[in-house]
């Protein structure tokens, strides 16, 4: 359809009008068919909300809790090496507000040095999360939210940043493949 429209300017006037009429009729037929197809849709299940199972505070998957524990310690102790091991081996998506790091996909090596810079200017005050904030999907992914509070070094300014972590299993261990700052 779109190609027909594109090529239309090269056609003679009479042929162009004929083609336009055809297009209008075709469009009308297509819209009718679309309406019919809407009506015949039998609503196959695609994703259901129930597929997301809230974790009950670490009972469901000890490996995940261990990784979350490592993440928490990494932020509290500002240990880049420990945090680096929590990231997946493939490129990880990062979008942070605490530092002017452009959102993007980064390797473990890059993340090591990125968090070196992030931790250098900050002093973590707390890293908290509540059990409902950990969720495991039936597809084998986990999501986790936390409140990261830090103080800018040498300053009284305290900032709270809400972090969204996404985990997936890599060689049997839960690893972060996504880390974003979210509003709340």
């Amino acid at each position: 359809m779109s190609l027909g429209l594109w090529q239309m300017r090269r056609l003679p006037q009479r042929a162009r009008l004929a083609r336009q009429n055809q297009i209008v009729l075709l469009a009308v037929v297509m819209s009718s068919l679309s309406g019919i197809s809407f009506a015949q849709e039998n609503d196959p299940p695609f994703y259901a909300v129930k597929r997301l199972v809230p974790s009950s505070g670490g009972k469901s998957d000890d490996g995940l809790q261990q990784t979350i524990h490592d993440v928490r310690l990494s932020f509290l102790e500002q240990e880049t090496e420990r945090l680096e091991k929590c990231f997946a081996g493939k490129k990880v998506f990062i979008s942070l507000r605490s530092k002017e790091t452009e959102a993007g996909y980064y390797t473990r090596s890059q993340l090591h040095f990125i968090f070196d810079k992030v931790f250098r200017d900050l002093q973590t005050v707390s890293f908290n999360h509540a059990p409902p904030d950990v969720t495991i999907s039936q597809d084998g992914r986990a999501f986790f939210r936390s409140e990261w509070t830090y103080k800018v070094l040498g300053s009284d300014t305290v900032v709270t940043e809400h972090l969204h972590f996404s985990f997936e299993k890599e060689n049997g261990d839960w690893r972060i493949f996504e880390l974003k700052s979210v509003s709340k």
Partner: protein, 1402 residues
């Protein structure tokens, strides 16, 4: 007479530079000591710059021994600069109280500044509004609104009005309203003030207010026109709200004048009531101080001229502790950088000055150790290397492969530089074969084979290691490394690419050195070069094939395949080594450049296959490991986002928000405050009141449809009802999650909040929307650059029968399912295939799950693009080669070895006929090629734009007819089509058919659009563009084309009229050609690449032709010049041969005849001269011998006479005559010895001699007993170098010269003998000078004094000075004489300072 110190400085400028540098340094030091309170920043900066300049000039001017003093001054200045930049002293010199007072003063000053600027903006806006209010053309339009010309004139007037704006990128707007507050004419980008007019039905009057709509906050200045006939409203964008964090709004906010570091502004919307704020500022006198004692915060109001509160600015003071910490860190980093640079410079200077690098092992190893030491210092000091170019950002590149040495692009570059210097330093002696001798052990066939195989194995390991670094670099980088273009300028990318070039060069150098070492210790002469090359190529292949076979399939084995071209190329470099080295060391500047360029280019080309391989490999890996799983599991993330959104909404104070007068914005604010905006999900938020009326609505990338009203069930509760429904825009496909919750409204009713989220693939961040300018609305997740060079990643989804389900791109992909029969496509998936999509070659990754088959496609790189990349690499390499030559020149300029001088560049061309011809031909070719390239590109781009415009017009007209006809049909039978009027769903559907966005305006107001969210959010004005309205509606034009912009993104918009029933005037149908614009941009990029590549190819071809032509023309001239020089040196046995029959041939024939004639004449001349010489010799001998013979004859005759005379005492006479005879015989013998001495050749016996000491010893007798009235002075320079010379000959030379001087002093005078280094101060010559103040030599005599047998004295043979000159020349020196009659004579003997003296006798 100048002092010794002044003499050592050699010039007055050096003395002046030293004094000035010292003074500037002392002043800088005083400023530092005073905590930078002595000088203003500008003065201190100028002083530091002056000190730097004077120090460098001083280093150049003074002798090498004093250069360290200059470097100390230089280092001091840099340190002072570091403290100044760090501000360390400024912070530490202030107490906490002083700091607070200073910050308070600063806050007050900034507050006044901001308030003044805001007042100025208001004033200028009011002036503009006031000016427009009295504009006759506006009055005319208000008086006759039905007159199109009058209204068009009003449009022209408003469009021509210059409006103030605090942000350059943001366009202000202006609207003329009639007495009923309906817009009559407008200009720029405007906002809709209907909600304001509805809420405040004030009489027309002047007013300044702040109005928030969508993401923008505007300053509105209204002025009445005439006597209430209308109102003009100037609208100036002030700020962007940061609830949606995207690039466009960030840029806008950064450019806004009312916010920044420690400053934030909250505006007071006209619809808000703020009595508390007004009271607060009334109490505090417009300055309210809050915050803490350490960090005070000042709040102050922004007011209109009428005193109305428009905003509140909060300005936080700078925290002293934070400032101190930051200052310390900055000072430490800057000082670390400067000290490291100075230390590195000192190492290089010491290495060059004291010839450490001349030593093959120890000195070089020491230099390398120092180099890496300073590399570590740079690392440990955490020196800032970003240079404000983002070079230290690991987000661009970082690898932990080599400790922390590769933690950023800048670190990678410095490490690569250190590697290059290391390999060059250590490999150079081996490359030049200085330290190699053929080993007998390896001279056999087997030995040679083993040595070469071993060398190639090591070389292959080096190349494979380099390839490993390349792979690591590509994996750990987010830069488009394969594309080395200079435009757009990307400093981090270019830095990494330069580092790669350096690494590749190091690998090439090491490999070539290994090959050369193998050749040197096992070289078996007799093989021709081609045979050897073929033999070595076979060995390369053998080694790599062996390694490949044992490594097995996989990524490691690919390394060995990729290593083969590099190894072969480096073999060729090794063969060309001699020629390259000779050009590097002795050639002209352009020949050196060509040699460096060739070596670097060969290195780059050798590794380019690896670049292309890893570029594709990394892209594929990213798609397989990251993108494909995200596609498979995208629903989970979206569900989680929805859960989080529901929780976030639960926490919101909805009732309070609904109390706001502008309810339209509530849905947007709910959306913006949730994960829906964070993840930029296709979603919608709707609020209905109890009667089912839509109160507020916002949607992103979510088509409107007939919204179903769900009547709230039961009392209000926070329980969400969640279900699924069909996505209206994509038949058959993705589901929509629908969440609904009832909640109490401010007036006690129960309202309904509905949230819908598309569980579709269009939410994936790396999938572009169909509306390119909608990208500007997306979150950072969508902005994330793909770590591949192909950003155009498209997703196609099919079911297992091959039916298309979803596509993210306009292009269609039709897979041929026949190759995947049987159990379905899943059996052979995942896999990579190549296919053509709409004629463009793509790489496609196929994978599946139980429901669908997915295709992720990106365009494969074309041959043209590869060619353009190679051209880019060549340009980068050329720049690198130029940089290296500049570095070499700079080192020479600062006192290092003078590799070449700047004027040599011009001299090389200017003194070479060939060079001139080449440059002239290249320039002649370059000018038309560049002009043609620009012309062709311009014409093609223009043609492209023209085609797009015509196509857009045709498209818009067809769409217009289509909509009109559709509505006509719809009116006949509306029930089947479900759309009773022009609505968003209709235009969304049309948009999907024509692959372009469609907007419809009536009376200038937006009626329907396919991209509602862009207008709802305020990114696009919901009013027709003034140009379109004026042309299409007022001027009745068939179409209007204009350029629209959102931020930096510009695109064409085509508008056509559309006449619909019941519309009083024609509507405007607009098609923003945004997606087409993106295609145009891509086509223009491809066109640029093609034109660049073609121009470069033509240029290289022209350069090759120029080279050939220049060579053809200049070569005979060069041959003739060389032959002429040979003839001039006495070689007449030369002749020129050419096959040319042209003028050059005739010239060669003439030359050959001339040399033949010259040879014959020379032979005749030689014969004649020989006879003359013999005659002269005979005459001289006869003359010299004749003189002593006469006394002998007279004495003998006298003896005979006396013998017969008894009266004479014969004994006495005999004694006297015998003495006379003996004396004359002695004279004869002396004459004979001198002749013999002159005729014979010297046999030198050189030995290292202190010339000064030799002179002192030789002249000691003269000084002990000088002739009466004569004074002999000796002046010897200190620390003269040892000179290899024959002591006896030089002593004799000196005595001869001194005797001549004594003879020239008639009756008394002074003879001065001095020894000193040569005047050029390059340490290669020593001068011995003998000067007197005697009678001098006449010019005609001076010309002949070195001729044999020439003498002005009656006695003597005239051979003395001839022998002196001969002795000096035998030592490789020369002699010169300066004399003036009556003033004296000065003879200068220049002797070379060389390790050995090669006698011509040997």
């Amino acid at each position: 007479m100048p002092s010794r110190a002044a003499r050592s400085m050699k010039s007055l400028p050096a003395f002046l530079f030293s004094i000035l540098a010292l003074l500037a340094f002392l002043a800088t030091l005083a400023d530092v000591a005073s905590g930078h309170t002595l000088l203003s920043p500008g003065a201190a900066g100028l002083l530091v710059i002056a000190c730097l300049v004077f120090s460098v000039l001083m280093a150049r001017s003074i002798g090498p021994r004093r250069q360290p003093v200059a470097f100390v001054l230089l280092g001091g200045c840099l340190f002072a600069l570091a403290t100044r930049l760090g501000g360390f002293e400024t912070v530490t010199h202030r107490s906490a109280d002083e700091w607070e007072e200073r910050e308070r003063q600063r806050g007050q000053a900034v507050a006044e500044q901001i308030a003044d600027r805001f007042a100025d903006l208001c004033h200028r806006a009011e002036l503009s509004a006031g000016g427009l209010a009295t504009e006759p053309r506006l009055l005319e339009a208000l008086a006759r609104p039905e007159n199109r010309e009058a209204v068009a004139a009003a449009f022209d007037e408003l469009e021509a009005t210059q409006l103030p704006s605090p942000v350059a990128e943001a366009l202000p707007g202006v609207v003329l309203y009639d007495r009923w507050r309906a817009p009559l004419a407008w200009g720029g980008k405007t906002v809709d003030l209907r909600s304001y007019f509805e809420a405040w039905d004030e009489p027309p009057g002047s007013r300044t207010l702040v109005f928030e709509q969508g993401v923008f906050t505007h300053l509105i200045v209204m002025a009445p026109v005439g006597d209430g006939e209308g109102t003009v409203a100037v609208q100036i964008p002030l700020a962007a709200r940061r609830r949606i964090d995207n690039r466009y709004l960030r840029d806008f906010e950064a450019a806004a004048a009312w916010s920044g570091k420690n400053v934030s502004t909250d505006y007071v919307d006209v619809r808000e009531d703020s009595p508390e704020l007004a009271a607060l500022f009334e109490r505090s006198g417009d300055r309210y101080w809050g915050g803490t004692a350490a960090v005070p915060v000042v709040y102050f109001p922004l007011r209109a001229a009428s005193g109305e509160l428009l905003g509140v600015v909060s300005l936080m003071a700078e925290d002293r502790a934070a400032a101190l910490l930051e200052s310390k860190r900055t000072t430490q980093q800057v000082a670390g950088l400067f000290i490291s640079m100075a230390a590195l410079f000192a190492v290089v200077w010491l290495a060059v000055r004291f010839r450490y690098l001349a030593h093959p092992y120890c000195g070089r190893l020491l230099f390398v150790a120092a180099l890496w030491g300073f590399r570590w210092v740079l690392l440990l000091a955490d020196v800032p290397l970003g240079l404000h170019l983002d070079l230290d950002n690991p987000a661009n590149y970082a690898s932990s492969a080599l400790f922390d040495l590769l933690r950023s692009p800048a670190d990678f570059f410095l490490t690569a530089l250190a590697i290059v210097l290391t390999t060059t330093t250590l490999a150079w002696p081996l490359l030049a074969r200085e330290a190699l001798q053929p080993a007998r052990l390896f001279q056999s066939w087997l030995g040679t084979f083993l040595v070469h195989i071993g060398a190639r194995m090591v070389a292959a390991a080096v190349i494979v290691l380099t390839l490993g670094i390349v792979a690591d670099t590509w994996s750990n980088s987010n830069l488009a490394l394969a594309t080395p273009g200079l435009i757009p300028f990307d400093a981090p990318r270019l830095t990494v690419q330069m580092a790669l070039v350096a690494l590749w060069f190091s690998a090439a150098l090491l490999t070539v050195t290994l090959i050369v070492v193998a050749e040197s210790i096992s070289e078996s002469p007799g093989h021709r070069a081609l045979d050897r090359l073929a033999r070595y190529a076979v060995m390369d292949a053998l080694v790599l094939a062996f390694a490949y076979s044992i490594s097995g399939p996989g990524s490691v084995s690919a390394l060995f395949l990729l290593a083969l071209p590099a190894l072969l190329a480096f073999d060729c470099l090794a063969f060309a080594r001699t020629a390259l080295l000779s050009r590097l060391s002795q050639g002209a500047v352009y020949a050196r450049f060509a040699a460096v360029f060739l070596v670097l280019l060969t290195s780059v080309l050798s590794f380019y296959p690896a670049v292309a391989y890893y570029e594709r490999d990394v892209a594929r890996e990213f798609i397989e490991q990251t993108v494909a799983p995200a596609v498979l599991h995208h629903g989970d993330s979206q569900l989680y986002a929805m859960q989080a959104t529901l929780r976030a909404i639960d926490r919101m104070e909805l009732a309070g928000q609904l109390a706001s007068p502008d309810r339209n914005q509530i849905a947007y604010q709910i959306w913006a405050g949730s994960d829906l905006s964070v993840f930029a999900l296709s979603s919608a938020v709707d609020i209905f009141d109890q009667a089912g009326t839509l109160v507020s609505h916002f949607a992103l990338n979510f088509p409107d449809s007939e919204l179903e009203w769900h009547e709230p069930e039961g009392p209000p509760s926070k329980e969400w009802i969640i279900d699924e429904e069909t996505y209206p825009g994509e038949p058959n496909r993705p589901r929509v999650f629908h969440a609904r919750r009832a909640f109490p409204s401010p007036n006690g009713d129960v309202w309904d909040l509905q949230l819908r989220l598309v569980a579709g693939w269009s939410n994936l961040p790396f999938i572009g929307t169909r509306s390119p300018y909608a990208d500007l609305f997306r979150s950072p997740a969508a902005e994330a650059p793909l770590p591949v060079a192909h950003p155009d990643l498209a997703l196609y989804v099919f079911d297992h029968q091959g039916e298309p389900i979803f596509r993210s791109a306009e292009r269609t992909l039709s897979l041929d399912w026949r190759p995947l029969p049987g159990e379905g496509v899943a059996a052979s998936l995942p896999s990579w295939i190549h296919d053509s999509i709409d004629g463009s070659h793509h790489e496609i990754f196929l994978f599946s799950d139980e429901d669908y088959v997915y295709c992720l496609a990106f365009p494969a790189k074309s041959r043209v693009a590869y060619g353009a990349d190679l051209a880019g690499w060549a340009i980068l390499v050329a720049l690198t080669a130029m940089g290296l030559l500049l570095m070499a020149w700079g080192m020479g300029w600062l006192g290092g070895p003078a590799t070449f001088r700047a004027r040599d560049v011009w001299a090389d061309v200017g003194t070479s006929f060939y060079g001139k011809l080449f440059v002239a031909f290249v320039l002649l070719a370059l000018i038309p090629i560049a002009s043609l390239a620009f012309l062709v590109r311009g014409i093609m781009v223009q043609q492209l734009q023209h085609d797009v415009e015509q196509e857009g017009i045709a498209r818009a007209q067809v769409v217009g007819r289509f909509v009109r006809d559709y509505l006509l049909l719809d009116r006949i039978d509306a029930s089947e089509r479900g759309v009773a009027a022009v609505s968003d769903p209709l235009l969304e559907w049309v948009s999907s058919l024509v692959s372009a966005d469609v907007d419809l305006f009536s009376r200038g107001e937006l009626v329907a659009t396919s991209e509602r969210e862009l207008f709802d959010s305020g990114l696009l004005p919901a009013r027709a563009a003034p140009a379109a309205y004026r042309e299409v509606v007022l001027n009745r034009a068939s179409h209007s084309i204009y350029r629209e912009s959102v931020g930096a993104f510009q695109y064409l918009v085509v508008s056509v009229p559309i006449a619909l029933e019941r519309w009083r005037e024609p509507g405007i149908l607009s098609l923003p050609l945004a997606s087409r614009q993106r295609q145009i941009d891509e086509q223009v990029t491809a066109l640029n690449q093609t034109v660049l590549l073609a121009a470069l190819c033509f240029f290289l071809l022209a350069a090759a032709l120029a080279y050939s032509l220049a060579r053809r023309i200049a070569e005979p001239i060069n041959t003739l010049t060389a032959t002429t020089r040979s003839v001039a040196q006495g070689n007449f046995d030369v002749s020129l041969h050419t096959s040319s029959r042209d003028e050059i041939g005739a010239l060669f024939d003439s030359f050959n005849r001339m040399t033949a004639d010259l040879k014959r004449q020379r032979q005749d001349l030689e014969r004649t001269k020989k006879l003359e010489a013999w005659a002269e010799m005979a005459r001289q001998v006869a003359h010299e011998v004749k003189n002593p013979l006469t006394p002998i004859q007279l004495s003998t005759e006298h003896l005979l006479r006396v013998y017969d005379d008894p009266q004479v005492d014969f004994r006495e006479v005999l004694k006297r005559c015998s003495e006379t005879i003996l004396q004359q015989v002695k004279t004869l013998r002396e004459i004979s010895r001198e002749f013999s001495s002159f005729a014979s050749r010297f046999i030198l016996n050189p030995e290292p001699t202190d010339l000064g000491r030799l002179v002192r010893e030789t002249l000691e007798p003269y000084r002990q007993a000088p002739p009466p009235g004569v004074r002999i002075d000796i002046d010897l320079a200190p620390s003269l170098p040892l000179v290899a010379l024959d002591r006896r000959l030089i002593q004799r030379t000196l005595i001869n010269l001194v005797e001549n001087s004594l003879n020239a002093i008639n009756g008394g005078g002074r003879v001065r003998v001095s020894v000193h280094p040569g005047p050029s101060d390059d340490g290669r010559w020593v001068e011995m000078e003998v000067a007197d103040d005697g009678v001098g030599i006449a010019p005609e005599v001076r010309a002949r004094i070195f001729e044999p047998y020439f003498s002005t004295r009656a006695s003597g043979t005239g051979l003395g000075l001839a022998i002196v000159r001969k002795a000096v020349e035998e030592h490789g020196g020369n002699i010169s004489v300066e004399s003036e009659r009556g003033q004296g004579t000065r003879v200068v003997v220049r002797l070379p300072v060389s390790a050995t003296v090669v006698s011509k006798n040997e």
